[in-house]
Amino acid sequence: MEKFGFTISKGRQIDYESNNRRIAEYIFENEPSFRLCFECGGCSATCTTANFTGFSLRELNILIKRGENDQVRSTLKKCMLCGKCTLVCPRGVNTRNIVVLAKQAFQKSDEYEI
């Protein structure tokens, strides 16, 4: 049976209200510069890891902020913490700390601490 009319497949849509943004809040609290990102992609352009595999810190940032955490967790592990992104960021975002805090936040959320 064919469906007509306008629908967005559920998997694509960001369900802002029901998404869990505790990870983002944990990072905001501990690294306020997380708020400063304006999604220029400088970090991902210079990224050592991105040279080898799919990894965009910019994308992870925005996904965390929207509460789309699922793919973030597995991707975060790929970061080498080399710090090039921090040197490039035009907004002075403390990018390395965001990676570390995000990992921490996931662990804490597993342990029901946040």
């Binding site: 304006f38 220029c40 991902s44 352009a45 965009s56 910019r58 040197l87 490039v88 035009p90």
Partner: protein, 342 residues
């Protein structure tokens, strides 16, 4: 008794305000550090958004400053600054002392020194140039690489020295986007075979007819726009310039080999302005430009009565805005000379 006003800086703003003041019979001394007036206008070939020749604006400015006996002092810098009550005295590098009833600061801007963004390779790689260098090429009518060949692919990097915490400039220079679009069109015009890519973070086309120019660049000239900040450029063995950028809209990193890279240098407080600020006690803001007494209704006034600002010494402005600002400064000066000065 005739009043005397010193205008510091002989660029667009300085010429405009000097011209307006002299027209109504005020004695004006115009101090310019270079050997000729015109400021950055001298280095620009065509102007956005309509791509008229910059010489037309210069002609206008020369016209209003020609006949009313402006005391034009080129190759002149200020070495000493004094204020007694509401009179000002300025000693020039020639040792000449000028006494004035008011001062207009029109020290303008400096282009961001692109070598400070080392990762873009200005001064390191041969074919990395700035927007100003490209204007010079347009003027000569010859757009070539250092080896004399014609570039086939050209990248334009927006926001070099603007919106960048790393160089201490938080602000947007607001004219580089439209300059990039203008230059992209001109490149395509000069080199119909070339491909032009603009790497932008945001397209800020806020001025009159800017958006239309952007549209024209896409529609008529096929300029490519890639949303992402270039993190670094490097030179390949074939002397190509490889830029690394994330195509943030595609969500993928993008590598590209270019023949030429043009850096859209932003606007900074001029070195001359900084010198004046240091001598006079005029306040500067966090962006290092002169701080206006009030952002809404006192943008020409300074923290010192009798000293006024005109043009880009207070913030990035285009020529239209600069001329308007200079005229507003003229009004403020007149008001001061008539009623404010004790």
């Amino acid at each position: 008794m005739s009043k005397h006003v010193i205008v510091i800086g002989g660029g667009v703003a300085g010429l405009e305000v000097a011209g307006q003041l002299s027209k109504v019979g005020i004695e004006v001394s115009l101090i310019e550090k270079e050997s000729k007036t015109g400021g950055h206008l001298n280095n620009w070939y065509k102007l956005f958004p309509d791509r008229r020749n910059s010489s037309e604006v210069k002609e206008y400015l020369n016209g209003i400053t020609a006949n009313n006996g402006i005391n034009l002092m080129t190759d002149t810098t200020i070495e000493k600054f004094n204020r007694s009550r509401s009179c000002f005295s300025i000693t020039t590098n020639g040792g000449k002392e000028l006494i004035a009833d008011a001062i207009v600061v029109a020290t303008g801007f400096d282009l961001f020194k692109s070598a400070r963004k080392e990762e873009y390779g200005y001064g390191i790689y041969d074919n990395v140039i700035t927007s100003a260098d490209l204007e010079e090429m347009f003027r000569k009518g010859e757009i070539v690489l250092t080896d004399g060949s014609v570039p086939e692919s050209i990248g334009i990097i927006h926001c070099v020295g603007s919106r960048d915490e790393k160089v201490g400039n938080y602000y947007c220079s607001k004219l580089c986007c439209v300059t990039a679009v203008k230059q992209a069109i001109e490149l395509r015009e000069h080199l119909p075979e070339s491909k032009v890519f603009c790497y932008y973070m945001d397209m800020r086309m806020g001025g009159a007819f800017y958006e239309e120019l952007y549209r024209e660049a896409q529609e008529k000239w096929g300029v490519n726009f890639i949303r992402g900040k270039v993190s670094e450029a490097s030179e390949t063995i074939e002397k190509k310039l490889m830029v690394k950028v994330e195509d943030t809209l595609a969500g993928r990193p993008l590598k590209m080999n270019l023949d030429m890279l043009v850096l859209m240098a932003g606007m900074e407080m001029s070195a001359g302005g900084e010198k004046v600020a240091g001598m006079s006690g005029l306040k500067t803001g966090e962006n290092r430009f002169f701080a206006a007494a009030d952002n809404h209704f006192g943008s020409n006034k300074s923290n010192i009565e009798g000293i006024f600002y005109a043009g880009t010494c207070t913030a990035p402005m285009n020529i239209t805005e600069t001329i308007s600002h200079a005229r507003a400064a003229f009004t403020e000066v007149m008001e001061w000379l008539r009623n404010g000065k004790r």
